[in-house]
């Protein structure tokens, strides 16, 4: 396909040492009118400093309420290739592991029906296929489902659960993030495909507190692997770290958020495990010398979100420790209770964290059947979530 548009402003984004989406866009534009007109419209947006996309509406596959995000150009005569420019979300495998065969199959389908442009992966975790027409949605869905793929979540639904690579690549993972995510995904199929909630609900599972998928900042329910018991210390390895030039005092002891570590050249490393908050900093820094305790499980946190109705929020602890073993029934039941409470009390476009903030932590905990615990206090002396009821006063 011949070049249709001059793009001097977008060309600027190709300069420098970083990968550029413009380069990929131009490659796709050689084969696809959607990508070509998308490039033209984007250049116009940069020139006029105006957006020309209209979002939403009645777009999707029959029976599903999620997985397709409708997008139309407000300049369809000028850029007919992007008159419809819908996004399709595909449920990714846990930990984003693919075979090249699977990727080729998906790419072939997308080249036939869409722009050829993809985003691996969107912030939800899904595979994102960018740009197709309404009439292509059913054929894309039929072909993808025939080879084992399904749409992801969108709208007021359970969003596609996602996780870090967990035990597949990381020996520090305290839980099987991949299996948990797969199991949750199967459990909440109806909630993913039939949007019935006040707004979105995201679950992200991290194997440890390093939290490589930033679940504490991005998920309504953050599941973060942790342990019970003492951190195991190999003092010989500690000595080796020191010998090899690590400044243990500065890099480990002084960086401990609870100041529970001390170091003496002779005695080695000492950890006051009672005070440890299992942040993983020391373990991640001294991987050969330190290991988590043997009793593995997870901390459940609730409520993080990006700023929409109110500002950005981080998740806070609801269940300090839960053992997570297949089929994860306790986790699933608790998640359902949380969703039920939110669904009953939340207004449209209110996330669970916002509802807890407005209604208070007490009714939330009472409904889900979790007793109040010191670990739930996010900021001592200024925590707004606990209120005295009349029955508490004598």
């Amino acid at each position: 396909m011949a070049k249709k548009y001059e793009t001097p402003l977008l060309d600027e984004l190709e300069k420098g040492p970083w990968p550029s989406f413009v380069k990929e866009f131009k490659k796709a534009a050689k084969r696809s009118e959607i990508a070509s007109d998308g490039l033209g419209q984007l250049e116009k947006s940069y020139r006029t400093k105006r957006g020309y996309w209209k979002h939403g509406g009645i777009v999707g596959v029959l029976g599903y309420g999620g997985g397709v995000i409708g997008r139309y150009s407000s300049l369809p005569e000028e850029f007919p290739g992007v008159a419809h420019n819908h996004t399709v979300r595909i449920n990714q495998p846990s930990g984003w592991f693919y075979t090249t065969k699977a990727l080729r199959e998906i790419s072939d389908i997308w080249d036939r029906y869409g722009s050829g442009l993809t985003n691996f992966h969107g912030s939800t975790g899904d595979m994102i296929l960018l740009g197709t027409r309404t009439e292509n949605l059913e054929p894309i869905f039929a072909e993808l489902s025939s080879i084992g793929w399904d749409l992801g979540g969108s709208g007021s639904a359970m969003r596609t659960p996602s996780c870090c690579v967990g035990p597949a690549r990381c020996e520090w993972s305290n839980i099987d993030t991949l299996d948990i995510t797969y199991s949750i995904t199967q459990e909440f199929q109806d909630e993913m495909h039939r949007p019935a909630f006040p707004y979105k609900f995201k679950i992200k599972t991290a194997g440890c507190a390093v939290d490589c998928i930033a679940s504490i900042a991005r998920a309504d329910l953050s599941i973060i692997g942790t342990w019970k018991g003492n951190i195991k210390i190999d003092q010989a390895e500690v000595k080796r770290y020191a010998k090899n030039g690590m400044d243990i005092q500065a890099e480990i002891v002084d960086m401990c958020p609870t100041e529970c570590i001390s170091y003496d050249k002779k005695e080695g490393l000492t950890i006051n495990n009672e005070e440890c908050n299992r942040c993983m900093h020391c373990i991640a820094k001294m991987t050969k010398a330190l290991r988590p305790g043997d009793i593995k499980g997870a901390t459940l946190l609730v409520g993080s979100k990006a700023p929409i109705v109110v500002g950005a929020m981080l998740s806070w602890v609801i269940v300090p420790f839960i053992e997570l073993k297949p089929p994860y029934q306790e986790l699933k039941d608790l998640t359902r209770k949380m969703i039920e409470w939110w669904d009953e009390n939340g207004r449209a476009r209110e996330r669970i964290g916002e509802v807890i903030e407005s209604k208070g932590m007490r009714p939330f905990l009472e409904y889900i059947g979790v007793p109040p615990m010191p670990q739930q206090v996010k900021a001592p002396r200024r925590d707004p979530f606990f209120f005295w009821a009349k029955t508490d006063l004598k």
Binding site: I58, G66, I308
Partner: protein, 81 residues
């Protein structure tokens, strides 16, 4: 109450609110359950059947989803008209 009668009631609820308010699935279920006296699970099942055959459908605006009556254009595109 016959299922078809219930489905007709659900359709009327969605139709009535068409210009006033976008109804979430939960709103439709609650309203139909209140009007018919049937339990929410029965109403939900009937609503889902209507969505599966394109009588009603999910719509989406500003990140929030609602239930709507599909347009003629949509039904044609899905081969239902």
């Amino acid at each position: 109450m016959e299922t078809e009668e219930l489905k007709q009631k659900i359709y009327e609820i969605v139709e009535k609110s068409k210009v006033k308010k976008k109804l979430k699935e939960k709103d439709v279920i609650a309203a139909a359950s209140e009007e018919t006296g049937l339990d929410k699970d029965t109403v939900k099942k009937a609503l889902r059947e209507m969505i599966d055959v394109g009588k009603l459908m999910y719509s989406y605006s500003g990140g929030a989803s609602s239930i709507e009556i599909p347009s003629e254009e949509y039904l044609k595109e899905k081969g239902l008209l």
